[in-house]
Subunit: 457 residues, 2 copies
């Protein structure tokens, strides 16, 4: 069997693959700090060279910020685009690192061998799993394993300012049949997962204004309206006693989970007690009739992310302030539309506003949820491939946050994204002592070999 | 009639009385600024000299801060203590003054003649009304008008740090049958008033704590409790839809107004529309079945003076904060006791706290309301005297804020205080271009002559 031959090749050449990853990790490609601009360029160059050596037509593509890397191999079969990013987070505070973050090492730990370095997990180790899978296929078969584009970004850790313009300018080149994104993790460190739904986000800051100036509560208290009182009364009613958001129409475009997915989630060994216990909590705080995973992945939320008004310094000032403010965000699911949710929230506030108060409404912005079309047979094929490799059934999961690139692939390039990754919860991404398990790297490469074997033909 | 003779004397010697006030106003006795410490001492010396010249036994009494002035004239009859303060507010911003704040002048205005200087109204002009009344009586009768103590403070504008220790150390000397305090105003600039109730104040800062650290709403939103949500839900229920405070027992020790006082208040020409309109409001915000004056003077309040939690800077951070805080104060009336109200508020919060949250409760402090015993005949006698002088009935009023000295007289020296003053709302105390109407000064002196004629015998 040629698949087995490729997998054997992956096993045999793991030391060399690790050496190559270590080379890439030595480049301090910190995208937020202009001092590392040459290093970002060096990482892009390094990747182009690697990809060219495998037979891709690859190039560094300038942007106003750090360059993109685009590599193409034309072949029969569905066009598959792989996305990763070569930039890394800053390393501060350096004093908390046990070694130089850009002097990678393989370390033995209680859990097994790990590759320790900034970017080991996020995202250089992950993106190299795909490139090494391509290499093993090429070495056994003499050709790359499909009709592939590799698209690597250098600004993911600094807000991706060039991403949308680049996608819009290169729409035809980048529009594939399916995108693969390797920037996510295993479920609970052990079970392969395909993230199939990412919540959207709508957010707004607003201010409730009352008197034309701050008033003294001795002189005005009792007769003058206090905007903090108005703000707390309104926001205090944002959830009902079932944990549901009370804004009219909020749930209109929220779909129930497909029964097959719900059944998968119920079979997951998710320890909500540990998840909350790790941060000092014990009771899931969302809708009462939903499991914690539903609360996190498939149900929308309304959260007050910031609130302020009146005197907040040391001591006391008996002020009736002229205004009070809040920042509120909504995690969105299914077909919830920020352009409907935010005006509904505004109208809900206005309906409760006393006649003496006015509302100032600042810069609402939002993006909808991403829900992948898992009815595409490629999803079930990939799931089977991952299950084969890991020996446990791969699951469809959700993601409570947003991964903007997945949304852009859908809205700009009209393609679904399959989010598959091999990171572990303890990888300490964005933190000191980041690492990637050698097992994640090794089985990650093998996973892509199997996935491509099933979907790229 | 000898009363008329004294009043005539006041009228005839007004220019000389104004000259003396101008002399006192020239001394820049700013108590908050150490640079003016010699000037505070000079003002105290000036007053002692004046009082000695009138036949008082007067002395400067050192304190750790600025000195007190105590002057005594023993005579038959009830012992009456008069309180005022010789220190003044700072003058910043000096650029907004139309003249040197310590170069007083009599200026003609549309409203009539005014004395323009820092301290003209607060409180040098007011305290001199009493001293000049004593002088006129002495000049006609050959003796001071009663069994009097004059007690003048030099730290009122800087928090009165020496006042309580001084009262406690000199309890016997200062304990009179009645205190007169001249640091208040006419009602609506035209009607003489005796303030008979001053609201108390209880205040506390507290924090609701949830997770052990700030959480990301993408990762935890929906499952982790947000303490801002808890805080707004609890504080949003602090008032019911009738504007009443919902803390159990809050109104237990709140008395209804005496019918006679209520009738007086209803007859007052208080323009609530203008009062609120001046600060951009239109609708009284307190208990719905109470008049605006009741809301301000005789009804208790609960106000959120400050609230903060989560991210409050520019832009957005989708954080679920670990904690959220508020500063809440209560204006107290009647027999409401801060040592009952604050624990009741705490218990009310705790009863609504989710199991995953904890309450941190910082430094609650409070002082009760001061309610004068207007059944003491001296009050009605003073009211009649004021009515005679001003040609309109003098009224008992309340005060939404606190005047600490009135409370100290009650709690430390066990005497009621009669708060009578002649300031106008437009006197601009604590602000640039402070003034005192010559009419306030002139009729203030005459008022004290009449009041002493009725109560000091």
């Amino acid at each position: 069997m040629t698949l087995q031959a490729v997998l054997n090749r992956v096993d045999e050449t793991l030391p060399q693959a690790l050496d190559r990853l270590v080379d890439l990790l030595r480049i301090p490609s910190i995208s937020t700090d202009p001092a590392f601009k040459p290093d970002c360029a060096a990482a892009a160059d390094w990747l182009v060279k690697e990809l060219e050596s495998l037979g891709f037509t690859a190039s560094v593509r300038p942007t106003p910020g750090h360059p993109m890397v685009v590599a193409r191999h034309e072949a029969p079969g569905p066009h598959i685009l792989f996305y990763g990013h070569y930039d890394v987070q800053p390393v501060d505070p350096l004093s908390l690192w046990d070694r130089d973050p850009f002097d990678p090492a393989i370390e033995e730990t209680a859990k097994g061998a790990v590759i320790r370095a900034r970017g080991a997990s996020d995202d250089k180790g992950q993106l190299m799993t795909f490139i090494e899978a391509c290499r093993a296929c090429k070495e056994i078969h003499g050709t790359l394993p499909g009709n592939l584009t590799i698209f690597l970004e250098g600004e993911e850790e600094s807000g991706s300012p060039s991403l949308i313009p680049f996608m819009e300018s290169n729409r035809q080149e980048l529009s594939a049949d399916l995108a693969l994104i390797c920037d996510t993790g295993l479920f609970a460190d052990s079970q392969p997962a395909i993230e199939m739904m990412l919540r959207g986000l709508a957010k707004v800051e607003f201010t409730i204004k009352a008197a034309t100036k701050d008033l003294h509560s001795g002189m005005y208290g009792g007769a003058a309206i206090n905007p903090i009182r108005v703000l707390t009364r309104i926001l205090g009613g944002l959830h009902d006693d079932q944990g549901r958001v009370t804004v009219p129409g909020f749930y209109d475009d929220v779909d129930e989970l497909p029964e097959s997915v719900r059944a998968q989630w119920q079979s997951l060994t998710f320890d909500a007690g540990k998840f909350l216990g790790d941060v000092g909590l014990s009771i899931p705080a969302g809708e009462v009739n939903r499991t914690p995973l539903e609360q996190l992945w498939s149900r929308p939320t309304a959260e007050i992310n910031g609130i302020w008004g009146g005197y907040t310094g040391a001591g006391f000032k008996t002020v009736l302030p002229a205004e009070a403010s809040a920042k509120v965000s909504f995690r969105l699911v299914s077909r919830q539309d920020p352009s409907k949710i935010l005006p509904a929230f505004k109208a809900w506030i206005e309906a409760q506003l006393p006649a003496d108060c006015s509302l100032e409404w600042n810069d609402p912005i939002g993006s909808p949820a991403s829900v992948m079309e898992i009815t595409d047979p490629a999803f079930e094929a990939a799931r089977a491939a991952l299950s084969d490799e890991w020996g446990v059934p791969a699951v469809y999961t959700g993601c409570g946050g947003s991964i903007p690139i997945a949304g852009y692939f859908k809205t700009i390039l009209n393609m679904d994204a399959m989010l598959i990754g091999f990171a572990c919860d303890d990888d300490q991404i964005h933190s000191p002592n980041e690492k990637y398990d050698v097992k994640s790297f090794h089985k990650g490469i093998r996973s892509w070999v199997r996935v491509l074997d099933r979907i790229a033909k």
